[in-house]
């Protein structure tokens, strides 16, 4: 069997394979850095001092997987049902249902907390189009 124009075809194939696999070798060592969340803001440290442990509204695992759902429910409950307080299923403590005046009071480091996972997962929640994010120091900029 003879391959007509074999040279051109082989070069073409090599160029194609090169372009098709470009995204893979271009990103080697870039995106597999795991997100690192920092929970050492002054407010969290003060909480730890007072209660002896770091704790969120619910358990860490619950917050990691369900915080979007929880925030959606909070929003509906506040805006439509005029509720303001959330009773934790984990600790029984009461929390002000608010992103801007609740969550971000402790997690005042949006760039090292929220953005870490959101960027890693390439999700762009539009919370902060309206809700004002806390001022962060220049050195926190990534």
């Amino acid at each position: 069997m003879k391959l007509y124009d074999g040279g051109k075809i082989l070069i073409g194939l090599m160029v194609f394979v090169g372009i098709a696999t470009f995204p893979f070798y271009y990103n080697i060592g870039k995106v597999d850095t795991k997100p690192e969340l920092k929970t050492d803001t002054p407010a969290i440290q003060a909480w730890e001092k007072q209660y002896g442990k770091k704790e969120c509204v619910e358990s860490k695992e619950y917050m990691r997987s369900e915080h979007m759902q929880l925030l959606n429910n909070w929003r509906d409950s506040v805006v439509r049902d005029m509720n303001r307080q959330y009773v934790s299923m984990t600790s029984g403590k009461k929390f002000n249902m608010s992103l801007q005046n609740g969550c971000l009071n402790c997690h005042s480091n949006k760039k090292q907390f929220c953005d870490q996972c959101h960027n890693y997962m390439a999700v762009k929640p539009y919370c902060f189009d309206c809700h004002i994010q806390p001022m962060e120091k220049e050195e926190n900029k990534s």
Partner: protein
């Protein structure tokens, strides 16, 4: 299988009845089911509660333009309302957002002016805001239920749900709603920004909320707080002992365009006597 005409009609009739019944049943379920219910969530214990919030505005107590400016500024700063200006410093009418503002008598109470009425009243600026109607046209036309009635009478706005169709703006007879044609953050001064309240985003409609968020923390609306003494009252009109009720019962008050049947909850006193 063969089927005669009579059998076919029977089956067709029964299935259409069943289908119609199912569509009715599915239409009666509520569109929105809360994800969190008491006792997991509860209102703030310090919150102010009323059966029907209402406001009384006594324009005679506003002596200077400064008094009015104080009220509008207090509201607009509390709620991060953008202030779009032309290069020459005048208000940019194309992008203007207003929750509380002033209108001349003729535009506040159209049809009530007459040829011989006192120049003083004719030229007096009136403070106007959302009337939180009993029967709000904006709520009726909203296709997403983004604007809705709270049980305490406030016409509330859920910015998360607003799709910016502006039906409510067309429906509101008081012009109380404004549309964000562009990102409002461009026109909010970061120095006076209220860090505890959100801004809005491009493409949503906004208006006065009777300071729902302040009431929930035991505070009266920002405009009432900033008004001169005895100029603005806020309270439960269903409560016979409330200030607003006493004023409305004891003297003549007028409301904006009551003939439309919207049932506004903002009452105006034009005279100059002391009350309450």
């Amino acid at each position: 299988m063969s089927m005669d005409r009579r059998q076919f009609l029977k089956i067709a009739g029964i299935s259409s009845i069943l289908g119609f019944g199912a569509s009715v049943a599915s239409a009666t379920h509520t569109i929105w089911e809360p994800g969190l219910k008491p006792p997991q969530v509860e209102p703030n214990p310090d919150g102010l509660i009323a059966k029907r919030w209402a406001m009384v505005v006594d324009m005679s107590k506003f002596k200077t333009d400064e008094d009015i400016k104080k009220v509008t500024t207090a509201c607009h700063q509390t709620h991060n309302v953008p202030d779009f200006r032309n290069p020459d410093g005048t208000v940019d009418k194309k992008f203007e957002i207003k929750w509380i503002w002033e209108e001349p008598f003729g535009r506040t109470f159209p049809g009530s002016e007459n040829k011989f009425m006192s120049e003083h009243i004719k030229d007096m600026p009136f403070i106007v805001l959302c009337n939180h109607c009993d029967n709000p046209p904006c709520v009726r036309v909203c296709p997403t239920q983004a604007t809705f009635k709270l049980p305490n009478g406030i016409t509330m706005q859920d910015m998360h749900r607003c799709i910016g169709c502006r039906f409510c703006m067309a429906a509101c007879p008081y012009g109380a709603r404004s549309f964000n044609w562009t990102d409002p953050r461009k026109a909010i001064n970061p120095a006076t920004e209220n860090k505890a309240y959100p801004t809005r985003t491009k493409g949503v409609v906004e208006k006065c909320t009777f300071c729902t968020e302040r009431l929930q923390f035991g505070k009266i609306p920002a405009c009432v707080e900033a008004a001169p003494k005895g100029a603005m009252f806020f309270g439960d009109i269903e409560d016979p002992n409330s200030e607003v009720r006493k004023i409305v019962t004891s003297q003549l008050t007028i409301r904006r365009k009551p003939e439309l049947g919207t049932g506004p909850a903002v009452y105006y006193v034009i005279g100059g006597s002391d009350h309450a």
